[in-house]
């Protein structure tokens, strides 16, 4: 890690610091963070949305593959072919 040294730098004033203080926002973020997954709107969280999408796609692909394999394994009815 590289460092930049700030010597005798001034710290933001109390007024400047207090401008960023917002407990209401923190409370709202907290509610969102502790909300159970089933109550969350998936489209709002891109990461969760993508994970769910990938799982669904994989499930679809697997189902398709197994269905095709099942069809191949089925014995051919010769009479029907005649």
């Amino acid at each position: 890690m590289s460092y930049k040294f700030n010597i005798n730098n001034t710290t933001p004033s109390a007024g400047q610091i207090d401008r960023h203080k917002d407990f209401k926002k923190l409370r709202a973020n907290y509610e969102e963070a502790v909300k159970p997954l089933y109550k969350k709107k998936l489209y709002k969280d891109m990461r969760t949305f993508l994970v769910v999408l990938i799982i669904l796609l994989l499930t679809y692909v697997l189902v398709e593959v197994f269905e095709n394999e099942d069809k191949k394994d089925m014995p051919v009815n010769k009479e029907q072919n005649k």
Partner: protein, 202 residues
């Protein structure tokens, strides 16, 4: 406590000078916040400025500091049920979360980490290293400091630039008080070696 326009660094950072009664009162506030998230507002009001200044000294950017500070309090609020009293103020636990957030940010972004210090702090380290405090040695010391590893720099900042007691440094860095002392003296030896080596070269 209201910080003046020319905020005192030590006052803004050092929330650790508390009596046993004050610590017990604070513990009650923490227990109340565990039971009711709205009660966390008391701790938020009490430590917002301390955490902001702590983060600002390591980022040097007001907006980024505001963002990281908000993350620190959110993490604290979400995990407060896991908090265990270790005989030091609640702020030590908040500083620990802040340090993790700061380190995580700089590792991910690959940006240059800011280290804020006062000239007197440099003089203090030079005196500890039993060298003469002059402009040349201060420059050499800055060069030596820039070669420190992340955890070593963290200790120097907490001890020499912010004047924290070893008990609090232990809680902030997640090691024991004795381990913090041992590590600190090793870092000092390393700095002494670097200073002497450079002086020998010159």
């Amino acid at each position: 406590m209201y910080l003046s326009e020319t905020i005192s660094i030590r006052t803004a950072l050092n929330a650790h000078h508390k009596t046993e009664r004050e610590l017990q009162e604070e513990l009650q506030q923490v227990e109340a916040a565990k039971a009711d998230p709205d009660k966390f507002a008391v701790l938020y009001d009490k430590y917002f400025r301390n955490i902001f200044v702590f983060v600002h000294r390591r980022t040097g950017d007001e907006e980024l500091t505001a963002d990281l500070t908000q993350h620190v309090f959110l993490k604290a609020m979400v995990n407060i049920k896991r908090y265990e009293y270790k005989g030091v103020p609640f702020s030590a636990w908040l500083f620990r979360i802040a340090l993790n957030e700061i380190n995580m940010y700089f590792r991910k972004s690959n940006k240059t980490r800011v280290v804020s210090l006062e000239n007197e702090s440099l003089a203090h380290i030079i005196t500890e290293a039993k060298e003469n405090d002059n402009e040349d040695n201060r420059k050499l010391l800055l060069g030596a400091l820039s070669k420190l590893k992340e955890d070593e720099m963290m200790l120097v900042e907490l001890r020499f630039f912010e004047g924290r007691p070893f008990a609090e440094i232990g809680v902030i860095t997640g090691i024991t008080e004795n381990n913090a002392k041992v590590k600190m003296y090793r870092v000092l030896d390393k700095l002494k070696g670097m200073l002497k080596g450079k002086m020998g070269d010159g």
